[in-house]
Symmetry: C3
Subunit: 457 residues, 3 copies
Amino acid sequence: MISRFNLTKWMLVLALGVMTLAPVMADDYKAGYEELIESQGEYAYAFDFFTVSMLWTVIAAAMVFIMHLGFATLEAGLTQKKNTVNILFKNVWIISIGLLTYAAFGFNTHYPCGDWIIPNIFGIAGGQPWIGDLNAGGGDNFGYGGVGLCMTAYGDFIFQAMFAATAATIVSGAVAERIKLGSFMLFSLILVAFGYTIAGSWHWGEGFLNQLGGGEAAFYDFAGSTVVHGFGGAAALACVILLGARKGKYTKDGIRPILPHSLPLAAVGVFLLFFGWFGFNGGSVLSAAPGPLGLVFTTTALAAAAGGVTSIFTSMIVLRKPDLSMALNGLLAGLVSITAGADAVGVWSAVIMGGIGGILVVFSILFFDKIKIDDPVGAISVHGVVGIWGTIAVAIFGGANFVSQVIGVVAVYAFAFIFSFIVFFIIKLIMGVRVSEEEEVEGLDVAEHGVPAYGLD
Amino acid sequence: MISRFNLTKWMLVLALGVMTLAPVMADDYKAGYEELIESQGEYAYAFDFFTVSMLWTVIAAAMVFIMHLGFATLEAGLTQKKNTVNILFKNVWIISIGLLTYAAFGFNTHYPCGDWIIPNIFGIAGGQPWIGDLNAGGGDNFGYGGVGLCMTAYGDFIFQAMFAATAATIVSGAVAERIKLGSFMLFSLILVAFGYTIAGSWHWGEGFLNQLGGGEAAFYDFAGSTVVHGFGGAAALACVILLGARKGKYTKDGIRPILPHSLPLAAVGVFLLFFGWFGFNGGSVLSAAPGPLGLVFTTTALAAAAGGVTSIFTSMIVLRKPDLSMALNGLLAGLVSITAGADAVGVWSAVIMGGIGGILVVFSILFFDKIKIDDPVGAISVHGVVGIWGTIAVAIFGGANFVSQVIGVVAVYAFAFIFSFIVFFIIKLIMGVRVSEEEEVEGLDVAEHGVPAYGLD
Amino acid sequence: MISRFNLTKWMLVLALGVMTLAPVMADDYKAGYEELIESQGEYAYAFDFFTVSMLWTVIAAAMVFIMHLGFATLEAGLTQKKNTVNILFKNVWIISIGLLTYAAFGFNTHYPCGDWIIPNIFGIAGGQPWIGDLNAGGGDNFGYGGVGLCMTAYGDFIFQAMFAATAATIVSGAVAERIKLGSFMLFSLILVAFGYTIAGSWHWGEGFLNQLGGGEAAFYDFAGSTVVHGFGGAAALACVILLGARKGKYTKDGIRPILPHSLPLAAVGVFLLFFGWFGFNGGSVLSAAPGPLGLVFTTTALAAAAGGVTSIFTSMIVLRKPDLSMALNGLLAGLVSITAGADAVGVWSAVIMGGIGGILVVFSILFFDKIKIDDPVGAISVHGVVGIWGTIAVAIFGGANFVSQVIGVVAVYAFAFIFSFIVFFIIKLIMGVRVSEEEEVEGLDVAEHGVPAYGLD
């Protein structure tokens, strides 16, 4: 950091800039750039703002990508050693299939923009079934969405595509250690390709949640407390109900804790998620507008910090020990709490929102354990329960319409739950969803993948 | 990489750009943007530069954030398995409390800008005690600090906030494996909230170090070799002296090495720190000015590389083996060496500065071990000792005033040491700072947190 | 994500922007900026585009840097526990020496721009032997390469320098677990400093591959399927042939699989490589031009995803199990497949290219194992074999000249193989390249470095 407000130093930098900038314009460049400026005419200014915004969009996409590594390591770390390969494998699958199905039809299902009643999967309702058509239609077109959407169609696609697989990743954690690989692969494909994109279209695709009160009382969910996290949490709940708890978790003698196999791996996961969240929330500004960007980074970080602190103290009081898993989930709860309103609240509100999220998540995890909903990583609590809080909180702190927020939560959660329940139920009927008891005891790594995660020498 | 200087290809890209840019300006966008340009008047150009700079600021903040993961994994990796949960927990605490206290009063203590003698904690001396007031005062204001500080107040806050917790993280490593959790939580809170911000105000908050020689001979510390790293190292030394060495480290039969429990984790930490340092130093340019940015990235990388190479050869000669811990600390030493002068020296100088840092750190670590200052991760050497070298080196290679550099080092190190000594001493009197011998033998994970870091199955 | 095309909201943001922008121009800033604008004259527009592009260049450099962590953890994860320290140490060495030698003479060897026949190492042929001369010649010069190369010389250097060490990292994986440390250190230094830069100069340094057909049929390799990855893969093959297989791998009773010691570490590596690849390919646009940037991110991600999916199904069919190592290598194969043509093909093509890469890599790994070329991490297959495919695919899908692509592949692969063979052969003669049988059995960590990677308590 150079000294702030240090005018002398700044003038020096400026002078240096001037000196280096002045003499160097090659003639070949001159002609080309003049042509560019001319063709842009009065919009010349816009070009650079668009360029910066598009750069931010793709960087944010890369940061959201790294969240998939965060989810993978968090899930692997919080579960048993013997199921680690299985978890990593599932996550390779999710990100791969998420990107491909989103290109194939997810993007157009997600953003039918007017045609949301019959989502235009495979071109139904006149849509384009494949992102590839953007190419013909101007995939790198400046005016793709007007300057209100400061990105090319490819930029829009890649940012949204990175989000798409998140729902399945959330489910992956909740069903870990006993789900059949093939059944999960099929379910996650359907969930990402159709479930998430249909629900998302209600909000971001100009769907009915966006039209509430004639658009005056639109459902407000900035980066997806409900549409992404809540959706994943509700889907996870449906699956866990159908799947049942891990063997030996709930015994006659009470709840037997199944210890995480690597808390360092889990901590790496949470810190990477925190890092990626700056892309998740920050990228959702959809431009590099300095005002919103600074606010969103600040509220995001402070809500996470507050969630970390309150979950630490809550766990100290309730569990009578400083619990690392709870602290880690507290950070995530803070992040989910602010995701719906990151651009709409101030710093005090962000701290309160995140802080309440951090308290909520501890009680929620204990509650689900009590009613024997076995969620090895706490995904239903972190994303599902706290997602509700984050969404409602925008009505309390950020001026969103309370009724619309409730409608949004109910609609998305109900859809996610029912959609997942039906799909997972059918898969259960046809091919089963749970590994055999022997495989569960042996561990999925050797049973399904033929290799342990850790070698001995 | 496309071929450099390949004019044809560039003209093609340009032509493509022109074609896609020309026809697409929606009318609704047109009106809005014209208004924007008009209102900016002759400053229209500045807007985009400001936007780019602000984008870089928040991205750099995210990169500095990831350094906290780097510190956590480095510290965990270099210590024993049985204290891993404790270390990870401390790091969740540090980042959380660091962000919150910096919002509550750290930011205004750090930057009183004229009122530094009585830091305006909680509004004393007329300051604003809470970052939230930025909101009212223009948290997303373009002109917050003039263009010399190309960021909104929120951008400034979040970037500085990520730095703030670093001092505590450095201490965390040095006191690992035997400190009482509650005592550390309290100490780190006080250190981050008051210690770091007061010392920082002397330099970055327009304090006396910035006014040396009437401002003509200002103390030069670009991104904080002294103000951040040296501060942390000196604080760590004070704590270690009060805390004592780990049981069994220094025996009658000499020094018993306590082996690191996971060198892969440590290596991950160092590489993440290296990555984050590009945000730490690069973000300290405080704008996206291309000249300084390229220079800072280059000097940062080359100094690290030189530190890596010299520490490798030094360890080979002195320890008679290619020591991985030393090589990793050598990379960090190279980075600390360049942090004070990254924008003020050329590439040759950067290589020499980093290279000397890499040699210094090996001897320093051996020296502290010899005088029985037990620093499990080498933090006092890497940040404290090399921080001095990095600061002085700017006088040798970068034209800073030698006397001012010495004054800065003495003032900050003395303050950090004395402040930490007093606070930690009081905490020791009141609640103790060290776990019991049984707890130390058993490991803090099970003793304090009730769970091992690694599960068996 | 705020609702797309939601005009009202955008106008609000805009209005907010206008309000915050208007009143705040301090006079001291005014003068400085006016001077800047004046001096730029008609090129004022270019300044911001240049600034954005340069920012992207340095961020991309940091992302490519993180690939070195990815390579290190992938290699460590896929090999045995007892050789982990050795692998991490090699990777610290590679990045350090790669950056330093590239500064010392690599950069000028790589880009002789006309003088490629006698590369100007150490100033031979009139070149500048040290990046430092850029300083005098304008290291932070705006016009360094015209706007076609939107970066300062330092920006260009640091981005290219991060690439330079990649070739050695690829070799490192293939020769792991039995190579002598000193021999590897020497070989990697020579390979990075001279081998890679000479071959690279043929393409990116205006060399003969760039002049094929009088420049009309130039060899096309966008970000280096052949020039970076293929080069590394071919060099690795030469070394493995001279080095021989690990003891006990190929026995009379067939191939004995040597299990990876940490698949989580390997997975972390691959996801970090995937992340870094956005910088590798995206940064190779050499500017922040929105059109190419969005396309490159999209094709890169989709090719990786396709490689992941096809390698999963191929391994299920061929190996009769869902193999995690193959899935991870499939992601990488998808990435290598698209690296040569990421800016030149559409999304459908990217999916097909990556998908074929994912199939190829499985068969290639099995093939090399069959002919007893022992490559612990599959580097020869991932980078060498798939690199050929990626390069040829640009002729099939992206309109490159088929003959030129073949010439490029043959020239670079032959050079890499022969250069490496000769250098490694001489090193073998003089100092030996392989550790003793006892050291191999004991593991290199304790034998060469005197410390195990993982402590017991």
